[in-house]
């Protein structure tokens, strides 16, 4: 199948920013999931709930919050602008919106897989002289890696589908911030249904592939 230049551009843009957002949140997600699964600390419940919020809040609301945080009139937005970094209405806005929206899915999945690692193994590793860092990287991470990969795939799929927060924070600028989801909306608005259907096909195929991989990993992880 031969796609137009525009279709390619939109698809590649979506995939590359989606990938970047997943890679960006991966270390934070893993660290936070570990803190949730293995440690007790004050206000843990509050933080856990706050992290999950983007999953249930209207994405547009999350987008609005992000706009208020990163907009040029906010202290952070101002500070970033003075250093030549602009988040709103360019690809960085897309990145931030995707990251925030997919973060809860990653944390939930990784947290579950950490919780399934038998803490006795980590304890015994400690009696064998292993440092906490070595235990984490040699015991915990390898035993939880399927859940981590599955969580990352899920987060990536969610990032690709992001719409509400993105349109508020980054706008819908063709060639600049337009992702697959935004473009479909745009085409339908303009009555260009055939173009919308091509993009629709691409999003369904990608989403199916990644969710299927993620589920397969989680299922095969259970059997171990």
């Amino acid at each position: 199948m031969i796609f137009s230049f525009e279709t390619w551009q939109i698809t590649l843009f979506s995939i590359s920013v989606g990938l970047a957002s997943t890679l960006l949140i991966l270390p934070f997600g893993i660290a936070l999931a570990w803190l949730f699964a293995r440690k007790e600390w004050p206000l843990k419940g509050v933080v856990e709930t706050a992290v999950l919020l983007p999953l249930v809040m209207p994405p547009v609301s999350t987008g609005l919050i992000l706009l208020k945080i990163f907009g040029r009139r906010s202290p952070l937005g101002q500070w970033l602008y003075e250093r030549g970094i602009e988040i709103v209405f360019n690809w960085k806005g897309v990145l931030i919106a995707m990251s925030v929206m997919s973060f809860p899915l990653l944390v939930r999945s990784v947290r579950t897989s950490f919780a399934e690692v038998n803490p006795r193994l980590e304890q015994i590793a400690a009696t064998l002289g292993a440092s906490p860092l070595r235990i984490f990287f040699v015991i915990t991470i390898p035993l939880a890696y399927k859940g981590i990969v599955a969580g990352a795939l899920l987060a990536f799929s969610r990032a690709l589908g992001e719409f509400g927060a993105t349109i508020l924070l980054a706008g819908n600028i063709p060639g600049k911030t337009q992702t697959l989801a935004l473009a479909i909306y745009n085409y339908v608005q303009l009555g260009k249904d055939p173009d919308a259907f091509i993009l629709l096909g691409i999003t369904v195929a990608l989403a199916f592939l990644f969710v299927w991989c993620s589920e397969w990993l989680l299922r095969s992880g259970k059997k171990m």
Binding site: N118, R120, L121, A126, T127, L128, G129, A130
Partner: protein, 357 residues
């Protein structure tokens, strides 16, 4: 070694105060008495409310002095009940996991890896994934892993509990070898009397989180309280004997107790070492007040009852006949023979009632 600690548990408080210095110390008590908790506390895997733990003169924990070394700094090897091998690593990587620990200068005696593997007969398992090990193999690998981390103390938590009886009898000698080959003091948790008598030279008996007795196993385990506690346990004699000769046609082997008394046990070919441990159940020994003349049993030992304890429906005799033998009779049998402390008796033991450990 000093072990003094208080740990709150769900239904009672573990409160132990013991000081001991033995090659193998058994912690003996029924399930749920706090044995595993105690090992966890020693290894630093569990918080202690108050107390002191000292191993080889080094304080690992002291609430008074504010010392609480993390598990990795305690130099304590731990073989938990389930073995806890790392399922994603091969046997070889499991075994070497702790061997990479930094060497302390005072631990000058390096342990030869191959020697450990040979003692435990596991070199052939090295390339296997741990998921393909049998229960007994997994326990030996876990043991090797702990030994190779060069600990100053080895904790074994019911290493045989998960194994069936046949396998137990095959693993027990490995534990005895580890005890004799590597000069690592061991603390061995069990609720099995045979294991205590076979391996330990000191025993701490705990129940409901309290230390109820401490001492040399043979002496301590014969008290009436123990017997009540062990109502459902096997009640066994474990004896150390020296091999004299084996006779395949007669179907027996002649061995000698330390006292010089000779015994017949079932035939076994020449053993690797002349020292053997054999056992016989306290229920499989007959008592007679006169020497029987024509009887099939291979062993008739003259002795004296040095201790007799009466329990509900039964009498537990300690008979000195070359060695101390524990004999359990019904009350009616003891009454019929008029047995009391000081009575001269003959112990009758079938050759085949003995088993080699």
């Amino acid at each position: 070694m000093l072990l003094r600690c208080r740990i709150p548990l769900a239904s009672f408080e573990l409160d132990i105060d013991a000081s001991f210095d033995a090659r193998v110390t058994a912690i003996f008590g029924p399930s749920g008495s706090g044995k595993t908790t105690l090992l966890d506390a020693l290894a630093g895997l569990r918080n202690i409310t108050a107390g002191e733990i000292e191993v080889g003169g080094r304080a690992l924990f002291s609430s008074a002095r504010g010392i609480n070394l993390p598990p990795r700094k305690r130099d304590i090897g731990y073989v938990p009940q389930e073995g806890a091998l790392f399922p994603h690593l091969s046997v070889q990587k499991n075994i070497l996991f702790g061997a990479e620990r930094d060497t302390d200068a005072d631990k000058s005696d390096p342990i030869d890896i191959n020697h450990v593997l040979e003692i435990l007969e596991i070199p052939h398992l090295l390339p296997r994934p741990v998921t393909q090990l049998s229960g007994g193999e997994a326990q030996r690998v876990a043991l090797a892993r702990a030994i190779l981390s060069r600990p100053l103390l080895l904790l074994l938590d019911e290493p045989l509990a998960a194994l069936d009886i046949g396998l137990k009898e095959r693993i027990l000698p490995y534990l005895a070898r580890v005890r004799d080959e590597f000069k690592i003091p061991m603390i061995y948790v069990t609720h099995n009397l045979t294991e205590v008598l076979t391996l330990a030279d000191w025993v701490l008996m705990i129940r409901q989180g309290r230390l109820i007795a401490a001492g040399v196993p043979k002496e301590k385990l014969i008290s009436a309280e123990t017997v009540t506690q062990l109502a459902d346990e096997q009640f066994e004699n474990v004896l150390t004997v020296t091999f004299i000769q084996a006779n395949r046609e007669a179907g027996n082997t002649q061995v000698r107790l330390e006292s010089g008394t000779e015994l017949f046990i079932p035939y076994l070919p020449y053993p690797e070492k002349p020292e053997l441990q054999i056992r016989v159940s306290a229920d499989d020994i007959l008592v007679a007040t006169e020497r029987p003349n024509s009887i099939s049993a291979g062993n008739i030992l003259a002795g004296t009852i040095c201790k007799m304890e009466r329990l509900e429906g039964e009498a537990i005799l300690t008979v000195l006949a070359g060695d101390e033998f524990l004999v359990r009779l019904t009350s009616s049998a003891a009454n019929r023979l008029g047995l009391k402390e000081g009575t001269a008796v003959f112990l009758i033991i079938k050759t085949r009632s003995f088993t080699v450990i």
